[in-house]
């Protein structure tokens, strides 16, 4: 199998808002892809369609060669994800939250402990979710996403709102994952350094379409020798990526 994720000509509208207008995207096993674009570009909508949480109006999405229709049980086993914002159950501890989600995958407490260690929450094992800091919560969400050793990991803005140190900690966890497991990653982010540091490929989205797709240095070269992603975006659209 050449591609673990295949998105072909996918469209999605909310009433008169065309959130995703015909996207094609393929991802190889083990590939890390960064999805960038301004607010409202359609990143979350795109990612959630791949996760099976939203349904495309037209087009097709395949994971490991299978569509969501009729294969949802199998595909749920293959993917791991964190949403743009999720709250877990307030008065469960980190460990109990892990245990709960592990039970969905029929996994035992060993795996929960492993994951807690992986995301560096050992000291917060017994702490209630409400008492965690923003960064710790994001790490918990990442840990939950990793429980089932997913083939495809989808993280929607996993480092937004974190300080540079906390962000770096998450990068390190993901870097380690890249070295140790054959996981594909789709990561949406507003931080260019993050995409640069983690991703093999950058996908630039704007207004529901993909503007550019390729390795960072190639993209920069192709678009009038842009020095960074912001310049790249200006060269493509005439607008700043972030005003």
């Amino acid at each position: 199998m050449e591609y673990i994720v295949e998105v072909s000509n996918v469209k999605k509208s909310f009433k008169e808002v065309h959130a995703v207008k015909g996207v094609n995207l393929t991802i190889k096993p083990g590939e890390f892809v960064g999805l960038l674009g301004p607010n409202g570009a359609g990143k979350t909508t795109m990612v959630e369609m791949i996760e099976g949480l939203q349904h495309p109006d037209s087009g097709e999405i395949k994971i490991a060669g299978k569509t969501w229709k009729n294969n949802s049980k199998e595909l749920h086993q293959l993917i791991g994800l964190s949403l743009q914002e999720t709250h877990f159950i307030d008065r469960l501890s980190v460990f109990e939250t892990g245990q709960l989600f592990a039970s969905f995958y029929k996994l035992g407490t060993d795996r929960v402990n492993e994951v807690i260690e992986l995301v560096g929450l050992q000291e917060k094992r017994k702490a209630y979710v409400t008492t965690l800091s923003g960064g710790q919560r994001q790490r918990l969400a990442l840990g939950i996403a990793l429980l089932n050793k997913p083939s495809v990991l989808l993280l929607d803005e996993p480092t937004t709102g974190l300080d540079p140190n906390a962000r770096r900690e998450i990068w390190m966890i993901l870097k380690k994952l890249k070295d140790e497991q054959n996981t594909s990653l789709i990561l949406t982010t507003h931080y260019m350094e993050e995409a640069e540091f983690l991703c093999d490929r950058i996908v630039m989205m704007d207004q529901g379409t993909i503007l550019a797709d390729g390795p960072l240095d190639q993209l920069l070269r192709d678009f009038d020798n842009a020095r960074n992603l912001d310049e790249l975006f200006i060269n493509m659209t005439g607008r700043h990526l972030y005003e």
Binding site: G52, L53, L83, T86, E96, F104, Y105
Partner: protein, 371 residues
């Protein structure tokens, strides 16, 4: 054992129970509050305190109206004046003592007191004759009217006479607390199910936790079943504690069949669990959810006779009221607690409550919005 413990249904149920138990405020409303309510109301309506009845007497000029009326006789003999009011103490061991306070005031003042509910009877003197103003639909006003009239014509001893013909009832199951506790248990099931299940689901939807959970291989129905089951366990604990208190403090006895009681309790839980799932099937907005829950719960709180019998409502309304889930549950509980009822008397309620729960659950699940 570990296999069971790692099962998602077990983990989900455990998570819900932990969540409830770890929120002290929830425990207060679920356990302490009903007991306090039973205690307060049970005491308020059972001890025989001296009753104070206020009556307004309209004063036309500066001269006291009372002085020139039929009331005068009584007042002359019993010139108890308290804060400017004429007070008349009536004694009756069996009925309890009553104090009538005649308060002289202008017509306008009397009307204000009437609206505030401090009085329900106004007496005016027209051509030396007493005229009574009161709302004939108001049972209390009528009682006071009869009492005042009797006393005016026959003297204060009227209230104390014929005591030997009154035999206070001491049959078990006829006190107010006997009426109240089964109603409170039924209400507890309704309240804790609707808030515990509906509100939790709506909140989880709005926080995107439902969305996160269904992005795993979790079985959707397990989530609902676990939530309902966790609530059921809490409801049992709440009901047992409330009953234990009533047994210890008020010597409340269950006269009917315990199996019937258990089945009715389960049926009540099924009914309100289903209704709660239906209420919370769509909205992700907790304010809308709040409104929906209140819209379902409040009418039953008012109509279903948890605190007072609904038989004062007009006859056409009673058929409707009797078929509300909370009424069925409360009436069934009462008949088992106080009338010694068994399965034979409550099977209809069992059936209707269970069917209500199952139908609303299935419909709710069908239209349930997970994300």
């Amino acid at each position: 054992m570990n296999k069971i413990k790692n099962h998602q249904l077990y983990r989900l149920t455990a998570a819900h129970i932990k969540e409830i138990v770890r929120e002290p405020v929830v425990l207060f409303w679920g356990i302490v509050f009903p007991i306090l309510m039973a205690w307060g109301l049970g005491i308020a309506f059972s001890s025989k305190q001296d009753l104070n009845r206020e009556i307004a007497v309209i004063k036309h000029s500066n001269t006291s109206t009372i002085q020139k009326s039929a009331l005068q006789n009584i007042i002359e003999h019993y010139p108890d004046k308290e804060k400017g009011d004429y007070a008349l103490s009536l004694k009756n061991e069996k009925l309890g003592n009553v104090k009538l306070s005649f308060h002289e005031c202008t017509e306008a003042e009397a009307h204000v007191m009437l609206k505030k509910g401090t009085i329900s009877l106004i007496i005016d003197v027209v051509d030396d004759k007493l005229v009574y103003y009161f709302d004939p639909v108001n049972a209390e006003a009528q009682l006071i009217y009869q009492l005042v009239k009797g006393v005016v014509y026959n003297g204060p001893q009227y209230y104390a006479s014929h005591q030997e013909e009154i035999k206070p009832l001491t049959v078990t199951g006829t006190r107010y607390i006997d009426f109240l506790i089964p109603g409170l248990i039924a209400m507890g099931i309704m309240m804790s199910s609707s808030w515990g299940i509906s509100y939790t689901l709506i909140e989880r939807r709005s926080k995107k936790l439902l969305r996160r959970m269904v992005a795993t291989p979790m079985r959707k129905s397990n989530l609902l079943i676990a939530l309902i089951f966790a609530r059921f366990i809490m409801n049992i604990i709440e009901a047992v504690l409330l009953y234990a208190f009533a047994y210890w403090y008020f010597d409340l006895q269950i006269q009917g069949n315990l199996i019937a009681l258990a089945l009715l309790f389960i049926a009540g839980n099924i009914a309100f669990a289903g209704i709660s799932v239906l209420i919370s099937s769509h909205t992700a907005n907790s304010e809308v959810g709040n409104g929906l829950i209140n819209a379902v719960v409040t009418p039953m709180m008012v109509l279903s006779g948890v605190f007072f019998s609904y038989h004062h409502f007009p006859a056409w309304a009673i058929t409707f009221i009797e078929n509300l889930p909370l009424t069925m549950l409360a009436d069934g509980m009462r008949s088992i607690f106080n009338e010694g009822a068994g399965l034979l008397e409550i099977w209809k309620s069992l059936l209707v409550l269970s069917a209500t729960g199952i139908i609303t659950f299935v419909v709710g699940l069908k239209i349930f919005k997970w994300y």
